[in-house]
């Protein structure tokens, strides 16, 4: 934690800001999902940063938290994408797919 801004920290803050801005301003579901993912990456970067700041060198616990977080983010995003696709095929019109999932 020096007086010079940590580029890693700045990157994390930028990702958080961009993600939040995207979530608030965009209406399109795909863009919103992307914004959530960018925000999530900012959170994961923050966790990595926290791990580095911990006394006694890199702390493995935040790393484990990032791994768990990534797994959750991937599955939630996949579910979100499936929903986006379903809503788009509905908007496109009469192409009704059977409920197969």
């Amino acid at each position: 934690m020096s007086s010079i801004p940590d580029p890693f920290g700045l990157a994390a803050a930028a990702l958080l800001a961009v993600g939040f801005y995207g979530f608030v301003t965009h209406r399109h579901p795909l863009r919103r999902l992307l914004a959530i993912n960018i925000f999530g990456n900012g959170v994961f970067m923050t966790l990595i940063l926290v791990a580095r700041w911990m006394p006694g060198g890199p702390d493995p616990i935040p790393h484990a938290m990032v791994l768990t977080g990534i797994v959750i983010a991937v599955s939630a995003t996949a579910f979100g994408l499936a929903l986006v696709r379903r809503s788009m095929t509905q908007e496109d019109g009469d192409r009704r797919e059977p409920d197969d999932d």
Binding site: L16, F23, P29, R32, L33, I36, F39, G40, G42, V43, T46, L47, V50, W53, M54, P55, D59, I61, P62, M65, T68, G69, I72, S75, A76, F79, G80, L83, V84, R86, S87, Q90, D99
Partner: protein, 481 residues
């Protein structure tokens, strides 16, 4: 045996749900019902043990924190587990009606419902911040597919919006967890308190992220926009679970954080702000409920309003407010589940839930409308119901701490609730006689009518069971009296 009960309460429904997926429609409905019955039995034993011996802790697999995961059942967790078991049992019986026969939809319902039940139990038993994040995500990812079971046509947009808000809320929460870990070097709810208390600006930021993330999940105004479409379009059994338990779990976390890890931080200003959000939720939700044209949306907006009462704990913050806020959560959970199940029966019979066209409901739907009326008594906060006891406790707390404005909020909130409930009952009973519908749907069978009625009766009975429940809850954590 006793110390393994928390593990069983989590893993029985989780494994039962996963196996239901693998079994497909085989074993329906015997398997999920057996799992549900075992889960209820397990939770009852656990609650009994907490009631007689106090908190129970269990480190899973014998691994101690920080490496392992610690489950903890204290008074607050016990009453929430009890609520989940009661509502869960009723919903499981009710679901035999719409989802009793073997079909892909029924398989999905039972598997997801058991997963949701297990995730909720895990959330209430979690004792560290990160584990709570994981269980929050489990709850979300099993709750949203349940909404979709109503059919793809009307629920995809609602589910998508629900997912976006839920994901954003939990990431915000995770950011708070990250900062907290950086400050305290621990995630244990009981250990991070001191480090947060003298953490300065960073601790404030952490608390803001934790509270903000949970507020989004709890659908507190202004983050409520996802709730009415999701709860209003889901199948009846699912709406009951979502309104009675899932959003309640988020408010539970607020109470938990405020009294444990954030106890050293909780400033008066933030407390008043949270109370103001609660008041805004009560007014906005009630007024919106009054303006809805569909019965189910009335009930959904009523949830937005009723959750606000639990936030009134924060500015009041005395033992009576603690008792009142938690008891309100329990009473609302039981009453709201009853309302949604009864509404489901009305929709099954009439084929729609447009308020202005509801009439002649009294005869064929007598039991369901009776349930609706009983639960409404608790929602309005009339004696002798559970809702009355909770509001009375909150009112006493407002008077005790000399903050009369919260008493005004409570009284106006009760009147608004009476307005939107009586509007529904007026349409149901007092409209011009005539055939309700041209083509009547099936009259709800006993398994669909009685769970709603029993929950409605319980909502009234809770006016008399406050003392043992609050004894189980235990006093406000950290309070001297």
């Amino acid at each position: 045996m006793t110390e393994h009960l928390p593990v069983l309460a989590v893993f029985l429904p989780l494994l039962g749900g996963v196996l239901q997926f693998l079994l497909g429609s085989r074993g329906l409905p015997v398997w999920p019902l057996a799992v549900a019955a075992l889960t209820v039995g397990c939770v009852l034993l656990l609650v009994g043990a907490v009631g007689s011996n106090g908190s129970i802790e269990h480190a899973i697999g014998g691994w101690d924190p920080p490496l392992g995961i610690r489950l903890r059942a204290d008074g607050l967790a016990a009453v929430m587990l009890l609520l989940t078991a009661v509502v869960g049992a009723a919903v499981s019986v009710y679901a035999l009606g719409p989802h009793g026969k073997a079909s892909p939809q029924a398989t999905h319902f039972w598997a997801l419902w058991l997963l949701l039940w297990g995730s909720l139990n895990a959330l209430f038993l979690s004792a560290d911040l990160f584990n709570i994040y994981v269980t929050l995500e489990l709850v979300t990812l099993s709750a949203i597919p349940l909404v979709l079971l109503a059919g793809p046509g009307k629920t995809v947009a609602a589910a998508l919006r629900y997912l976006q808000f839920a994901l954003f809320g939990s990431l915000l929460y995770l950011l708070g967890v990250a900062i907290t870990y950086g400050l305290a070097g621990s995630l244990d709810l009981a250990l991070v308190g001191p480090a947060l208390a003298d953490g300065g600006l960073a601790a404030g930021l952490a608390a803001g992220c934790l509270i903000g993330g949970v507020l989004v999940k709890a659908a507190i105004v202004p983050c409520h926009v996802w709730l009415p479409p999701a709860h209003g379009n889901a199948p009846a059994a699912v709406s009951a679970v979502l309104s009675a338990l899932v959003v309640k779990a988020a408010v539970y976390l607020l109470l938990r954080f405020w009294t444990e890890p954030l106890a050293g931080l909780s400033g008066t200003l933030v407390a008043q702000l949270l109370g103001a959000l609660g008041a805004a939720a009560i007014f906005y939700g009630s007024i919106q409920a009054f303006r809805q044209e569909r019965l189910k949306l009335v009930v959904a907006y009523s949830t937005v309003a009723q959750l606000g009462y639990m936030l009134l704990f924060f500015p009041l913050a005395v033992s009576q407010a603690w008792d009142g806020a938690v008891y309100h959560g329990l009473a609302h959970g039981v009453a709201k589940a009853s309302l949604f199940l009864a509404t489901g029966n009305v929709i099954a019979y009439v084929g729609h839930d447009r308020l202005r066209e509801l009439r002649g409901l009294d005869r064929p739907l007598a039991l369901s409308v009776f349930a609706f009326g009983l639960a409404s008594v608790s929602i309005m906060g009339l004696p002798p119901s559970g809702g009355f006891v909770a509001k009375w406790l909150l009112l006493s707390a407002a008077v005790e701490t000399g903050q009369w404005w919260w008493a005004v909020v409570l009284i106006i909130g009760g009147l608004l609730a009476a307005a939107y409930i009586i509007r529904v009952l007026r349409y149901a009973f007092l409209q011009a006689p005539g055939p309700a519908v041209d083509v009547q749907g099936p009259v709800p069978s006993a398994v669909m009518a009685w769970p709603a009625t029993l929950l409605g009766l319980l909502a009234i009975l809770m006016g008399f069971t406050a003392a043992p429940t609050l004894a189980l809850l235990g006093g406000l954590p950290g309070a001297t009296s």
